[in-house]
């Protein structure tokens, strides 16, 4: 089974999240920043854990 490219996965998720946030902000104009302040750190920590888990040495 092909190994997942963790760097591409993590950066792809980050890029997509930032892009969707900016698109929403520029097209609709309002964002609940209180929710972002909670969701962003949680999301980043979760992403880091996923990245660590996927990139561990399986040998």
């Amino acid at each position: 089974m092909r190994r997942v490219d963790v760097l591409a996965l993590v950066l792809g998720v980050v890029f997509s999240a930032v892009a969707m946030l900016s698109l929403w902000l520029s097209l609709f104009g309002s964002i609940n920043w209180e929710a972002v302040r909670i969701a962003a750190p949680l999301g980043l920590v979760s992403l880091g854990i996923v990245g660590l888990a996927l990139s561990r040495n399986r040998n």
Binding site: R2, D5, A8, L9, L11, G12, A19, S22, L23
Partner: protein
Amino acid sequence: MSSIWTIRRSATDTKLTGLCGGVARYLGVDPTLIRVGVALLALSGGVGLVLYLAGWLLIPVEGKTGSTIDDLLGSQARRWSKEIWVAIVVVACIISFAIFGALTPFGVGPAIILAGIWYFGFYKNRRPPQTDASPPPAVEVPQTREYDFITHSGPPTPFTEAAEAWRKRIEDHAGQTSWQQAASNDGAPDGPAVWPTPSSGNVEFPSSPDDPELEQRRAFLAEADPVGLYPPAVEVVQARTPAPQRADSRPARVLRLVSLIVLGLTLAALGLADYLGAAVPVVAYFGAGLLVIGLALMIAALLGRARGLLPLGILLLIGLLTTSAISTAVRYGDWAQTQHSYTNVAQLPPNGDSREFGRLTTDLSELSLTGDITYRAHVDMGTLTIVVPPEARVRVNYTIDSGAVEVFDTVVAAGNELRDAYQPEAPTASGPTLTLDLSAEMGKVVVRR
């Protein structure tokens, strides 16, 4: 490794460009520490991003002589001295910090902490540097070596005769071959030293043709290397380690092609919508492009990552953050706003008002009109807002390179190269006309009562 200019990006320990791996090897620390440091510096006004980009552009990868900037600019980049590049990087860091310093959460704190850790934890405790002018410490290499041989005092035996012959051969070899010459084979930095095979030499051996064992010993000792102690001398060629080139798999290449096509179609669709009057902000272009590349990278995590997607995503992210910061600053920053208010015609500036960047608001709501007058205003990039008297007859002549015109809550025009006149319905049947000559290179013109 006495000069910082000897740093090379790693060709093997790479996550993005191999810069952190190369710096970590230069400093002798774990690459993860360098990567964490760059991430922290990126939060310090974007300085980490600027430094990383500069390192990627200016530092060659190991095994290569040219840097990325040389590949991009050719021989033109080589003419610029290192000091000029350092000055450019410093200025870029200052600009980055000036723009993003107020937006990033940690300010200059991470940069100061990292600088302190580097100075007190590494630089101050480093070994005394070797200057390039001083030669490396000389290694004492004996030209000849003294051997302590045990001399047998008793009657000769076959063993002592063989030992004596062998002793003479060693002395002969030590006299003929200098150790320095032998050490010159040490051209390969990590390879084992190759010592020359000794010659057979002049072996004095008692002649006794009747003794077959003695003949065998003589034949044995006549050979230069009878038991293969010395490997055959091979010419050591210092081979440069070529930078490994990762070959993209076919699915990865297809994915890259599809991604670029989708990216082009997305940007074209946004441009078409903008042309048709949808007033798409610049941030949306970068956001849509980044979304396409982000989704492509997620798919690439399974199919294989093609070269080019990640740098493109990083460039789009930088563009997105930059345009977002500028638009936010223009929208909310007091420093980017200018407000004028005129109550009579004599106060109006003959050449109008202008602003290069930001918001320009002119309040003419209290202006007393005694006859037809013309007011001019211009912004290079930003928003131009004119508040006109409630009962005034208004004519708007607008010239906008890229942007939109909004008159009395109605979008009159949007897009590029807007040059026209608009006269809304007048509230009164007669009276003086206020003509507004409004222009913007990139931005929005708003007229309201």
